[in-house]
């Protein structure tokens, strides 16, 4: 799967590429509006990550032309502005998602997966890792063919782990993924701990191995 990352901040661009390449994506990068525009004209991408404030032009124009010329390409807007107007305009123009800087790379990855999944109807309907199968369309998960009874949050957590398998996920990023902005005034880390404990128990009870490991104090890693 080929991605184009249009982001003028070189350091951030490099980070995104590094993280996403590990997930098996091929990444092209552009550092300004014109490069981005040219690359979009010459190549076909599964998904494009585009910053709104670019040297040489507005990212929204790229979204607009992309929508016209290549409607099956997924678009995720990355912006520092967090302006509601831009968000609405972006989504109205046909962007699939909107992320505000700063974001967690794991969150970006999860959103990217979700966009690709939603756009790619003929593609992968099940994510299989070892003896675990996750069906995003029906929000179900099976272990050795046996269905897991998960709460909404536990399922979200599992999907987040599966999408970012073999990566260390910090408690903060998990909390933010599950509760969004609410976590600001929460003892969110306790919640994360409780949910992970429950998820682990359910996976083990269903006969699987415990795929979640605690990585020092940093976070958790899902691996098979």
């Amino acid at each position: 799967m080929k991605l184009l990352i249009i982001e003028d901040e070189q350091a951030l661009n490099v980070s995104m590429v590094a993280y996403l390449q590990q997930g098996g994506y091929t990444c092209d990068t552009a550092l300004n509006y014109h490069d981005g525009s040219r690359m979009l004209a010459n190549h076909h991408y599964t998904c494009v990550l585009v910053d709104l404030t670019l040297p040489g032009g507005n990212g929204l124009d790229l979204v607009r032309s992309l929508k016209k010329n290549s409607p099956d390409t997924g678009i995720i807007i990355i912006s520092a502005k967090n302006a509601l107007d831009d968000k609405i305009t972006g989504l109205e123009l046909g962007a699939d998602d909107y992320l505000t800087k700063p974001f967690h790379l794991s969150e970006l990855n999860a959103r990217l997966r979700s966009v690709i999944r939603r756009r790619n109807f003929n593609g992968q309907k099940v994510i299989q890792i070892g003896d675990l199968e996750v069906f995003p369309e029906s929000a179900e998960a099976l272990v050795q063919g046996r269905k897991l009874t998960l709460t909404k949050k536990e399922y979200d957590l599992l999907l987040y782990f599966v999408t970012n398998k073999n990566r260390v996920l910090t408690k903060d990023s998990i909390a933010e993924h599950l509760w969004g902005d609410h976590i600001e005034s929460l003892d969110s880390l306790d919640f994360v701990y409780t949910h992970i404990k429950n998820l682990r128990r359910k996976l083990v009870e269903a006969g699987g191995e415990d795929p979640i490991t605690t990585v020092y104090g940093m976070g958790y890693k899902f691996s098979f």
């Binding site: 951030l12 520092a80 505000t100 800087k101 700063p102 974001f103 104090g217 940093m218």
Partner: protein, 424 residues
């Protein structure tokens, strides 16, 4: 008290005092004049009587003269030329009331025998005249008073109209509006000076405000990108295989701090944007539904803290607000109630047509309730709390003219939001 009312009242007060004093002296002067007149007549009668006796050597016919009555009585006392003036009341069978009389008593001699004469003069006519005059005067005074007060009021009102205009405009002036303070020119020197001073002052404040705002906005936005870079690098760093536990711990701490900073910055940007009135798209929101939604979302958190929610009242209430801000408002109120609660505590919620009231158990406040809605106030130093939640509540409330208030009643923290306009 309005200055118009105040000057009018002072004016009335002074007028009433002047009129009362004037009336009193007028009354006194008139009374003295009347007594002088009556006494003159009595003395004229006396002179006539004495003259009559001297000329004819007999007592005069008592019915003659100006006076109403002359009473003659033989007296044995040789009191000499007794002469006394006094007031008396005599019952009149005709009027069936006591009538005031002026009485002159004197002694005169006929054939060496002393006779005591009492001449009576009714004051009735004078009294009537007196009363009519006083009444007329009173009317003139009252009319004059009303007239003068009225004229004074209107003149003042006319003179002060420019001042009120200025005051009204200054009141409506808001820094967040991008318009300068425009004031009507006036020909009253003091008011014109006031206008000029006000305009210069607000112009200066507005400039300072814009500079500060621009700085805050730029700073907040410029911080976002470096934050994103640091955060992403840390996340990549964490993926390294050969980290020592000590390094991992450091990375974790850095990452947590960067997150905290990001969230803080995001909240500050949100606050700034609310202040800038960037959320102009309003819609009619069913507050009861939104409240229920938020409660459902926070349910697991409340379960974890073993907090009971009691809904006392949940009436359908519709407000016109920006949906995003309304969600922030409600969730921050609820989060506040959860956060500052005690384990096993309660939250009582009541939503009525004119107010939303959220009560929660918990330790009493350590500081002044006034500071509660300020930025960076967190009652107890709980980790992760930035004390910005209620500042957001306060800002959003201000935007929509809701009135938030805090009280501590029966061991419960009570936060109220009063709705002013209610779309229903």
């Amino acid at each position: 008290m309005r200055i118009l009312t105040k000057t009018s009242l002072y004016y009335l007060l002074v007028s009433v005092i002047v009129f009362l004093l004037g009336g009193l002296s007028f009354y006194k002067i008139l009374q003295t004049e009347i007594y002088d007149e009556v006494d003159d007549q009595l003395f004229t009668d006396k002179e006539n009587i004495i003259e009559y006796i001297r000329r004819y050597n007999e007592l005069p016919n008592v019915t003659s003269g100006i006076s109403e009555a002359i009473i003659v009585r033989e007296t044995s006392t040789h009191a000499g030329a007794l002469e006394a003036l006094s007031d008396t009341l005599i019952f009149s069978t005709y009027d069936e009331e006591y009538v005031p009389f002026r009485k002159l008593t004197f002694t005169t001699y006929q054939d060496g025998k002393p006779f005591e004469y009492t001449i009576l003069k009714s004051l009735m006519d004078f009294e009537d005249l007196f009363e009519s005059t006083m009444l007329a005067m009173a009317w003139i005074f009252v009319l004059l008073l009303i007239g003068l007060a009225g004229v004074n009021y209107f003149i003042n009102k006319y003179n002060w109209r420019n001042f009120y205009d200025t005051l009204e405009r200054a009141k409506r002036y808001s820094l967040t509006q991008r318009k300068p303070l425009l004031l009507k020119p006036t020909d009253t020197q003091e008011f014109q000076e006031l206008n000029e001073v006000l305009q210069a002052m607000t112009g200066k404040i507005h400039n300072d405000y814009l500079n500060l705002k621009e700085f805050t906005e730029n700073a907040s936005h410029e911080i976002q990108t470096p934050l994103a870079i640091v955060s992403s690098k840390l996340e990549l760093f964490m993926q390294s295989d050969n980290l020592t536990p000590a390094q991992a711990a450091m990375l974790e701490e850095m990452h947590a701090s960067i997150n905290r900073l990001s969230r803080l910055n995001r909240s500050l940007i949100l606050l700034t944007r609310i202040e800038n009135r960037e959320f102009s798209e309003n819609e009619v929101i069913p507050l009861h539904e939104l409240l229920q939604e938020q409660l459902d979302q926070l349910q697991e958190m409340m379960l974890m803290h073993d907090i009971q929610v009691e809904i006392e009242d949940m009436q359908p209430v519709f407000v016109e607000m920006n949906i995003g801000l309304c969600e922030i408002l409600i969730s921050n109120l609820l989060l506040n109630a959860i956060r500052h609660n005690s384990t096993g505590g309660i939250i009582r919620i009541s939503l009525k047509a004119d107010e939303l009231c959220i009560k929660n158990s918990g330790e009493p406040l350590q500081e002044e309730p006034v500071t509660l809605f300020e930025r960076f106030r967190s009652g107890s130093k709980l980790s992760g709390s930035m004390g910005i939640g209620l500042a957001l509540v306060s800002k959003i409330s201000e935007l929509y003219q809701l009135q938030p208030s805090y009280t501590y009643e029966e061991g419960l923290h009570v936060l109220r939001l009063k709705f002013q306009k209610n779309v229903s």
